[in-house]
């Protein structure tokens, strides 16, 4: 039996691993994809104490090496359930099951999907969730961005410099994001705002060829595009753990600064926890707190 099972190998989870290993606990990290979490998409980190500049990949690689060098076991499996067995917890993955005295949920968040048919199939074939990652493939092509927050506005602005034409599709007639970005966008000749509308269908052969956009008034329009950039927010990856953790209306795990959840021995750390500021430094801080609390809890067993 492990002392601490950490679900998620991002900055919060890996920092928790450092603290737990340094307290001589047996630690298992379960990571569904590759370690590093969301930070690996950030080219420049310039607000982390002592690091005036480091790339997200460099940060994640160093952190992962630090964790591995401390003798932490990392397994690449997706956790699908946590069962409370009292003094032990069972973490069920897609391929196995592990028991630990404590569990730290550091699963972070994932891109919210549009929820239209064929969306998953067309990822990498016209559908993208990251303009800075994939924008370059759409040089001089026609693209659409969906969303109304800062990410959508900034994505549209970024793409306006590359693509021949950018449609910005938003379900309301005003944006949640910054006015200054909206003004910058409205000055671009190649940006067209499509208000009060939702993307209701993706038309594709091998690749995306057009999107069906339905206006609130019921009118339907088919817009030919090469790419569709979805920027409709992120959702915390807590869905699988609702039996052991209380979730708020947006799906974030309810826990105070001590990272304790409603289930003794189950802790939550990082972006999937209820909090005001989601930054690299607050994620790593959570990892330290959750691991320290987990060690305290183990010592009471």
């Amino acid at each position: 039996m492990y002392d601490v099972i950490i679900v998620g190998g991002g900055p919060a989870g890996l920092t928790a691993a450092i603290y737990a290993r340094r307290a001589s606990k047996e630690v298992l990290v379960l990571e569904a994809m590759n370690c590093g979490g969301q930070i690996i998409n950030t080219p420049d980190i310039e607000n982390y104490p002592t690091a005036d500049h480091i790339s997200g990949v460099e940060f994640a690689t160093k952190l992962q090496n630090q964790v591995t060098n401390l003798g932490t076991e990392i397994r690449y499996e997706r956790a699908v359930e946590v069962r409370d067995l009292g003094d032990a917890k069972e973490v069920v993955t897609q391929t196995g099951s592990y028991t630990g005295k404590t569990v730290i949920l550091a699963t972070g968040s994932e891109n919210r999907k549009l929820g239209v048919e064929d969306e998953d199939r067309l990822v990498g074939r016209g559908v993208s969730y990251c303009a800075t990652c994939d924008g370059n493939f759409y040089r001089n092509k026609t693209v659409a961005v969906v969303g109304g927050g800062n990410t959508a506005l900034e994505d549209a602005l970024y793409l306006a410099d590359l693509a021949a034409k950018v449609y910005l599709i938003h379900r309301r007639d005003t944006f949640r994001g910054e006015d200054t970005t909206v003004r910058q966008l409205s000055q671009r000749d190649n940006v067209e705002f499509v208000y009060n509308s939702n993307v209701t269908k993706l038309n594709a052969e091998k690749r995306l060829v057009s999107i069906e956009v339905t206006n609130k008034d019921g009118s339907v329009r088919d817009i030919p595009v090469n790419g569709l950039f979805v920027a409709v927010g992120r959702i915390p990856e807590n869905q699988n753990f609702a039996s052991v953790v209380e979730l708020d209306a947006s799906g974030y795990a309810v826990a105070a600064e001590n990272c304790r959840t409603k289930t003794p021995g189950v802790f939550v750390a990082g972006d999937n926890r209820v909090k005001d500021v989601r930054q690299l430094v607050t994620a790593t801080a959570d990892g330290a707190v959750a691991a320290t609390e987990a060690v305290k809890y183990i010592n009471t067993l």
Binding site: T61, Y76, E77, G124, C133
Partner: protein, 103 residues
Amino acid sequence: MALQEITVANFEQEVLKADKPVLVDFNADWCGPCQMLKPTLHELADASDAYKIVSVNVDDESELAEEYDVFSIPCLVLFKDGKEAGRKVGAQPRPVLEAFLKG
């Protein structure tokens, strides 16, 4: 060991005419998920002679990226007997890649 870099000049010889399955990793230096995936690909390349794993830098080889409809990276395309046998888009954990290479 570093993966062999493939260009438009040697793609046919090294990938399409290879005598075993070839996994082509379409990637770029600025792509975070691509960089995090690399160590796993190196390990898999060293683990078996039954296949080979090569790298295509999409910035340098945009022609190849376009020809093979790569619009999001990392994109792993498996070639068998000169034909695409499957592809995986986005970061992938090692067990998934092992199964993909066996499949």
